[in-house]
Amino acid sequence: MEIREIQKVTPDDIQVSEGVALFKLDQLLDKARSNSLWPLTFGLTCCAIEMMAVGSPRYDIDRFGFGVFRATPRQADVMIVSGTISRKMAPRIKTLYDQMPSPKWVIAMGGCAIAGGPFKYPGQYAILEGIDKIIPVDVYIPGCPPRPEALVSALLKLQEKITAKKD
């Protein structure tokens, strides 16, 4: 099986940071960004129900500050791609990703968003096998569908990634 270059991402998606690099402020901003990641309401298929369950009383992510689900990409920080990406939906996801103001992150939730999941078989003509083929992804959550706890731990993992020291 030839290893296809995963990150086939068009150059204009790379995040260019030209903001003034005040050393202390940057870390403070990252700390604030990590504690208030507003997800974009963007459910595709089965994983969307587990994403809704994450907002429910038992797994409540509002405790960490992520509970504010923004419907418009302009005000969202995290795009949680939850479900199967059909080839008809892929351009829409790319548009939504472009419309999000930076700094922005992407979580690929479930087997389908990582690499096609249970619908990957020779002769599959309808789905895009993995969202990282069109937009850069930060955290992958395996599972079909992953449990809500897995999504909560993914968001915490994203927190660590944001506040990690950039040496």
Binding site: D13, Q15, E18, G19, K94, Y97, S102
Partner: protein, 120 residues
């Protein structure tokens, strides 16, 4: 202490404006920029918009504006009248107020009968 010093109103409004302008400009310095092909395209739940959003809007909204005009003038008239009436409640003033409000209630009833509020 109850000096009617109106300079406060102007200063507070101007400072509010400046503060708001400062608020909207600080992120231009601090925020990173991202380049995306469709970054500035108008958002319409993932799709491309069909035509511009500057359309001639529904007429029923403007009918409300006309009736609002009539009633706003009435409220502005009532401000001084109510104040002077409360200080010296004369019967003749009461009649004037009742007649004035009665005429405007008629205007409201007329608009109601004409079906402006039924949004057809």
């Amino acid at each position: 202490m109850s000096s009617n010093n109106y300079i406060y109103v102007l200063v507070f409004f101007v400072v509010g404006l400046l503060f708001a302008v400062a608020f909207t400009c600080t992120p231009l310095i601090l925020s990173p920029r991202s380049r995306g092909k469709k970054k500035t395209s108008t958002y319409e739940s993932g799709e491309d918009t069909l035509g511009s959003a500057w359309v001639q809007f529904d007429v029923s909204y403007y009918l409300f504006a006309l009736i609002f005009l009539a009633f706003d003038v009435e409220v502005i008239f009532l401000f001084p009248v109510v104040l002077t009436y409360s200080i010296a409640p004369l019967l003749i003033d009461l009649l004037k107020i009742v007649i004035f409000i009665g005429i405007l209630a008629l205007a409201l009833a007329y608009a109601w009968r004409k079906g402006i509020f039924s949004w057809k």
